[in-house]
Each structure stands twice: as structure tokens, then as C-alpha cells.
């Protein structure tokens, strides 16, 4: 089953040098774990989100031999920043929405969803229910900052892996944040 917003998001993510795959809920955990396994990930830091629990991502990661830690972790700051411990870590996030025409993930900070999860780790995997995709940035921001609710302390718009063009104006990935971004779109 194909949906125009899903197709547009996949195309936009491609332009942003992120990868994406469209799977059913039954396959999502295995697909996410496989993607991490292929990237050589040793440790995953998971947002504490009902979706992560429902998908039983921990079990899939265990089968791939990947250590799974749930936010908030007991890691020290140096470990969080990858200065100690395994270098190949992966942050697993659950975006609140995603913007189809820009390839943008909208991450909201909360007690279960640390604002550094996607950016401190070397890789970033996002689990995105297809129903959360909107067309424009305006729609996504209107949802995140709806009237009558206090604004979240931090909303991060993430559009592809970290990038710098500061050396000779040529785009190079993995400057400070994640070197790779993979979005598992769940239908």
C-alpha cells in the first residue's frame, strides 16, 4: 500500500542523505535492528516511548547482539559523548511528526526523550508511524506549538545526518551529530 505522503517523505529523506524503509509494525523492530547491525552498531540508546516498547525493539536488538539502554541511561557524560566506551552507538528516537516535503523529523524533548539522543550518538534511527507524516513544516510546527499547551522545552527539527561544508565548501557528513540517519516508517 502506497501513500503519497510516505512516498514524498522517502524521496525527501533521500535528498537529505538519510535512508528510509517502509515496513509493517510486525517487521519494524527487526528492520531497525538489522539496519543498526549493518552499520556495526554496538550500543543503542532508546527513547522511552510506548512505541519502542510495543514493537519489542529490545528483543530484536538482543538477537542482533546490540546492547540496548533506555533513556535516561546511567551513562556518564563522557560515555554519552562517545569519548569512552563503544564508538559505534546509535540513538533511537520516535519523532512526533515528520515533514514530507522537506525530509524533516520533529523531535520533542520530554523526560523519556532526551534532547541529545539523536545527536550525541554516531548513528540515528527514527521509528515513525506513517500516520504522523504531515506535508509542510508549517503544519508540523502548528502541532508542536499548539495553542493552549505549554511549548515543549526543546523541539529539534532534524533533516538528515550532521553535515559541514566549512572545509572548501564541500559537504562532509558527521561533523558533530550523527554520521547516518535511517528512518523506519511504520504503516
Amino acid at each position: 500500500m502506497s501513500h503519497p505522503l510516505v512516498d514524498d517523505l522517502v524521496a525527501s529523506l533521500g535528498r537529505r542523505k538519510a535512508s528510509a524503509q517502509v515496513v509493517t509494525a510486525a517487521d519494524a523492530a527487526r528492520a531497525a535492528a538489522r539496519a543498526m547491525g549493518d552499520a556495526g552498531v554496538a550500543r543503542a540508546v532508546l527513547a522511552d516511548d510506548p512505541l519502542v516498547r510495543d514493537l519489542k525493539l529490545h528483543e530484536a536488538l538482543r538477537r542482533e547482539g546490540i546492547e540496548a539502554l533506555v533513556w535516561p541511561t546511567a551513562l556518564s557524560k563522557r560515555e554519552m559523548l562517545g569519548l569512552e566506551g563503544p564508538e559505534d552507538s546509535c540513538g533511537v528516537t520516535v519523532p512526533r511528526t515528520a515533514v514530507a516535503e522537506r525530509g524533516t523529523l520533529v523531535l520533542e524533548a520530554s523526560p523519556g526523550h532526551g534532547r541529545g539522543i539523536d545527536v550525541t550518538n554516531r548513528h540515528h534511527v527514527a521509528l515513525l508511524p506513517a500516520g504522523r507524516i504531515v506535508r509542510t513544516l508549517g503544519e508540523a510546527l502548528a502541532q508542536a506549538f499548539a495553542d493552549g499547551h505549554p511549548a515543549p522545552s526543546a523541539v529539534s527539527l532534524v533533516s538528515g545526518p550532521s553535515r559541514s561544508s566549512d572545509i572548501e565548501k564541500i559537504s562532509t557528513l558527521g561533523a558533530h551529530g550523527a554520521l547516518s540517519e535511517h528512518v523506519v516508517i511504520i504503516t
Partner: protein, 471 residues
């Protein structure tokens, strides 16, 4: 770390800029490496930006962006009050600073009071303007620029040359040499990926130590008290999430009313700045971390800097306050493309810098008085501006402001010239005199040297001795 940056004297322009504007310009023109790097950068920007105009209708978005920003500036006092109230409601502190000195005093005092020894910064033109690094360094606090381009310049002891791409004038070999010196080892790779990976680890060490993060603000959203920080590298997210304290420094004009306006400007900004339809990271921050959250700063301070901006409202220069600091006018300017940003001697270079530096400094400032003349008035800046600032008109007005009464002698000369040319008879006599003189001096159809005030002109140009030139 050795640095050429020196203490501030309170102005916007760099107090340590060497030589006069003319000397710096001539020096930059003679630097072939610099001009090559600038040409490459401007060309790649031009290509990507053209793609944005073609595929995303950037030109059509411009009119709305212009309207939004004009309205914001008109409503500025009310928007700032709302912004301030909302930030406080979210648990943050707001400080309104009249000038740079007041802002740096507050931030440096805060760092001292909290026992901060290392400050991690993300790229911010406002902190360049208020000379925050110098102030913190003087207080014995280590300041680390974490944007890759800014860090490279910090190691080189140089000032940024572009709003968006600060180190655009240095090449890979120059960068590798700086990294080797900083790390104290030759074990630094030469390739681009290797250099970026090296910087990532070195700077993460700093993030682990930093007690305070300082960022700029691209946009403030009044309706929720949110600051928007736009970036590609992810360093601004680390700056705003790892240290215990986050200080955001915002020029007072950078505020929009609501999220509808913010959504539009946040899309226009990366299109105009880097020719991309989204920046990789946009951090939208409302106050400090909330109860139960374990990362993010415990304290959030918003420092709103006037620095001469408020006084521009209601003047013929008000439109300059609409600027969203995208850098498009720099890349489009033939003058900037030839000499780069450092020649301007101000954090704000290019056409917008030539307009606002003297405005923020005051008309009497010798360091920036001549900046409005760094333009051929070709108008490409006004065409490139995504918020429709008529930069070429502002440059002309800024020139008028700088010319009187600073150079009264030239005013007398221009008046005399205008009297001569206004009458057909004296105009024709003038031209006939010139024709005779050129023919008398011409050799083989060309004049290679002119006497008196014309000498400077023929130093680098030849002139046909008659028009049209003989074949």
C-alpha cells in the same frame, strides 16, 4: 592559544583590524589563493540558490518574508515584551542590554558566579559584535568555538569572513596545518573526512568540560518565548543541551510574532543562505529543561542586545533591521567576491555589513565610515536579499550620511563640477578640452598615463584616446 583577537573598545568593527580599509582591500586583491577560494564558494552558492528559485519558488516566498519582517520591526516593542514574558513563564531569565558592554558584563559575571571555566559556543554574529570571546578570555575563562569553520578561525586567530561560512577563505591544507598545531601532533589526517572526524573528537572533549554553552539566535518567536537556532553540524544542539547553563544572545530585531511567521522565515533562511530547502538541525528552545528531564540546561538566559538597533526604527534605515543574516548579499556582491569579508574589518561584511556597521557604530566612527563605499551600487545585493531589503538604496543613503560633513572639500569640488556640467556651453567646452588632451597624450590609440588626479585611475587601466577607438 595565540590569537590576534584583542580587547574591545565598545564598537562593532574589530578594534584589531590591521591598516585602513583601502590597505586591507588592496592586500586582499593581491591574494590569489583567497580570490580562488572566494570564487569557488560564491559559484557553488549561486548554483544551489538558482535551484531553490527554480524548484521551490524562492522568489515568490520573498514577498511574504518581506511583509513579515517589516511588520515585526514595526511591532518590535510589543513583540519583545511578549517574548520576554513568555521566556520568564517558561522558567528562563531575560536580560535587555543597551549595548555590547552591558551584555558581556552580564554573561561574564554569570560565568564567574557559577564557577564556569570552559564555555562552548556555537556560531553567533551577535557575540562577535559584542566581542564576548575577548571579555570571557580576559576573565580567565576558556572559550571554544565549536562550529567547525569558527573553530578553524579561532585556531588561526582570525575573524570570520562570512556570516554562514566563516572559514570560506581557507583551503584544506591550511586547515590541516592549524589542526596539527592545536593537537600538538603530526598525527592529523589530510583528507576532508579525516579532518572533520578529528575536529569532532577534539571538540567533544570540550563539550564534556563546558559549564556554559553560548549560542546566537536566528529567530525569537514571541507567542511562545522560543528561540530558534539554525545549523547544519549539530554543534549548536550540543551547546544548548550538554552544559549546565545555556546563554542565548539575540539582536533585538530578530523576533517574529508567531509560528506561522516563523515557519515561513525558517524555510526562506536556508534557501537563501546555503541553497538548501532545510537546514540539517533547527533547535527550538523554550526555557530550561523541565522537571523530569535529565538533559538540557538547568538555567536558560536570553540576552537581548540593542546595540544601536532601536534607534534605527523610524529612520530611513529601518529596513536594514529586517535582515535575517543569511549572507546572500555577500555571495552576490562583486566587491565581496573580490576581497572577502575580512577586508571590511567588521563581523558584518558585504553590502549589509557596509550599511549596518557604521549605523551601529555611529557616524563619527573612523573605523567604519568608509564602508558604504565598498560597493559598485550594481544592485545585485537587493536582488539577492530574501526579505527584500533595498540594499543599494540604503548604501546610497549611508554614503550621504558618511559624506557630510566629513569631507567638505569634496563637497565643494562636486558643487563646482555640477555648475560646469549643468550648462551646455561649459559642458561642451569641458568635453572638448578632454578630447584634445587625450589625443595629445595618446600613443597608438591609447592613453596609458594621466596626470594629477587621473594618475590613480590609469595606474591599472588604459583609456582609448578617441571614441570609438580606431580599429
Amino acid at each position: 592559544m595565540s590569537t590576534r583577537r584583542r580587547r574591545s573598545s565598545g564598537g562593532v568593527a574589530y578594534p584589531d583590524a590591521e591598516g585602513t580599509l583601502r590597505e586591507r582591500t588592496v592586500q586582499a586583491l593581491a591574494d590569489d589563493t583567497l580570490r580562488g577560494n572566494l570564487a569557488t564558494a560564491a559559484a557553488s552558492w549561486g548554483e544551489s540558490r538558482d535551484a531553490m528559485r527554480r524548484d521551490h519558488g524562492l522568489d515568490a516566498m520573498r514577498e511574504r518574508a518581506r511583509e513579515i519582517r517589516r511588520r515585526n520591526i514595526r511591532d518590535l516593542p510589543a513583540l519583545l515584551s511578549e517574548m520576554q514574558a513568555k521566556v520568564r513563564e517558561a522558567g528562563g531569565t531575560v536580560v535587555r542590554a543597551q549595548d555590547g558592554a552591558e551584555a558581556t558584563r552580564y554573561i561574564t559575571g554569570l560565568a564567574r558566579a557559577r564557577g564556569v571555566t570552559v564555555v562552548a559556543k556555537s556560531k553567533s554574529m551577535a557575540t562577535e559584535e559584542i566581542k564576548l570571546n575577548e571579555s570571557l578570555t580576559d576573565a580567565g575563562i576558556e572559550v571554544v568555538e565549536t562550529d567547525l569553520g569558527e573553530w578553524i578561525l579561532q585556531l588561526a586567530g582570525e575573524h570570520p569572513s562570512h556570516i554562514i561560512a566563516p572559514a570560506v577563505h581557507l583551503n584544506r591544507g591550511q586547515v590541516a596545518a592549524l589542526f596539527r598545531e592545536e593537537a600538538g601532533t603530526d598525527d592529523v589526517p589530510d583528507d576532508r573526512e579525516g579532518l572533520v572526524a578529528h575536529a569532532r573528537v577534539r571538540l567533544r572533549e570540550k563539550f564534556a568540560q563546558a559549564g556554559m554553552g553560548v549560542s546566537g539566535v536566528n529567530l525569537g518567536v514571541a507567542s511562545t518565548g522560543t528561540v530558534c537556532i539554525v545549523e547544519n553540524e549539530g554543534n549548536a544542539r550540543l551547546v544548548t543541551s550538554q552544559p549546565r547553563i545555556h546563554v542565548a544572545v539575540m539582536g533585538m530585531e530578530r523576533v517574529v510574532a508567531d509560528w506561522d511567521e516563523a515557519a515561513h522565515i525558517l524555510q526562506v533562511l536556508p534557501m537563501a543562505a546555503i541553497g538548501q530547502d532545510a537546514a540539517n538541525y533547527v533547535n527550538l528552545i523554550t526555557g530550561p529543561r523541565r522537571e523530569g528531564e535529565v538533559d538540557g540546561p538547568e538555567e536558560f538566559h536570553l540576552v537581548i542586545v540593542d546595540g544601536g538597533r532601536g534607534a534605527l526604527r523610524g529612520t530611513e534605515f529601518e529596513e536594514a533591521l529586517s535582515c535575517i543574516r543569511c549572507g546572500a548579499c555577500l555571495y552576490s556582491c562583486p566587491m565581496w567576491k573580490s576581497v572577502g569579508g575580512q577586508a571590511y574589518g567588521s563581523p558584518y561584511s558585504g553590502p549589509i555589513g557596509a550599511v549596518i556597521t557604521p549605523l551601529l557604530e555611529g557616524p563619527a566612527s573612523p573605523s567604519s565610515r568608509d564602508l558604504p563605499f565598498m560597493s559598485s551600487l550594481c544592485g545585485s545585493c537587493g536582488e539577492a536579499c530574501p526579505v527584500g531589503i533595498p540594499l543599494q538604496n540604503l548604501l546610497v543613503r549611508a554614503r550621504a550620511r558618511a559624506s557630510s560633513p566629513a569631507t567638505r572639500r569634496s563637497a565643494v569640488a562636486f558643487r563646482a563640477w555640477s555648475r560646469l556640467w549643468r550648462r551646455p556651453a561649459t559642458y561642451r567646452a569641458w568635453m572638448a578640452g578632454w578630447r584634445l588632451m587625450l589625443r595629445a597624450r595618446g600613443k597608438g590609440g591609447w592613453v596609458r598615463r594621466l596626470p594629477g588626479p587621473g594618475a590613480g585611475w590609469t595606474q591599472v587601466r588604459d583609456m582609448p584616446s578617441r571614441w570609438p577607438p580606431r580599429p
